[in-house]
């Protein structure tokens, strides 16, 4: 996690760099903590994410489920084309909401 801030649309978390199996558990912990504080709308900005592995995608999927279970929503913002390519391959483009 590189930054988080409240804006008009909800609470926005900005990620950057690589998200792989080495740091996905830390991201999961960060998102769990954020969910406890912001169970409604959470935005994850992916503009500066250069790579995401299946471990990172699993963390995003779990976060999405948590938000939905609490009656909230998770939005993904600005994934780079190569990140979107990966999400499209596994069908995540159809299940996540994008801003």
């Amino acid at each position: 996690m590189n930054g988080a801030q409240e804006n008009g649309q909800g609470f926005a978390l900005t990620l950057s760099g690589r998200i792989d199996a080495s740091n996905a558990p830390k991201l999961e912990q960060d998102l769990l903590a954020l969910h406890a504080q912001h169970p409604d709308t959470l935005i994850i900005d992916l503009s500066d994410v250069t790579y995401i592995s299946s471990s990172g995608l699993r963390v995003l999927l779990m976060a999405h489920r948590r938000q939905q279970h609490s009656g909230g929503q998770l939005f993904l913002r600005n994934p780079a084309p190569k990140i979107m390519h990966i999400m499209t391959l596994c069908g995540f483009d159809q299940v996540f909401a994008f801003l």
Partner: protein, 144 residues
């Protein structure tokens, strides 16, 4: 087979980024385009993650070797570990059809390896270790 380039690291997940840099550099130097380099990097990352998390079951003192070479028009990545034998047939296929809420999470790593590369072969041998050999066809001839 041309010149082989190899990196050997311990099975710590923190080494994944070093492996990614190594494979990306070699793939780019052999003429793969940017999209293909990214795909090779991801497939390699998933294979090495499997070695570290499953073959070595989280042990951090195992050995993971990643070797790259050209064979004909194919850029080849060979990943070797000496952990628990791995049978890809035991990994369930990922659920890409059910609604998000119902999806089982698992099997995505091998799914990506197979989707992103032109071929993926697994083997397991008591001496040679577990090996994954993945090939990516170059779109046009280029010099190494």
């Amino acid at each position: 087979m041309g010149v082989e380039y190899e990196i050997c690291v311990t099975s710590q997940l923190s080494n994944l980024s070093e492996i990614a840099d190594f494979v990306s550099d070699r793939a780019a130097l052999t003429g793969l385009d940017e999209r293909q380099v990214f795909e090779v990097q991801m497939a390699t990352d998933e294979a090495c993650t499997n070695s570290m998390e499953h073959a070595y079951e989280g042990r951090e003192d195992g050995e993971v070797r990643v070797c790259c070479y050209l064979e004909g028009n194919d850029f080849v990545v060979r990943i070797t570990d000496f952990g628990r034998p791995f049978d890809p047939n035991n990994v369930p296929k990922p659920d890409l059809v059910s609604p998000l809420e119902e999806r089982q999470i698992g099997g995505l790593g091998i799914f990506f390896m197979r989707e992103l590369m032109d071929s993926v072969e697994f083997s397991s041998d008591p001496v040679a270790g577990n090996q994954v050999i993945m090939r990516k066809r170059r779109r046009k001839a280029a010099t190494a």
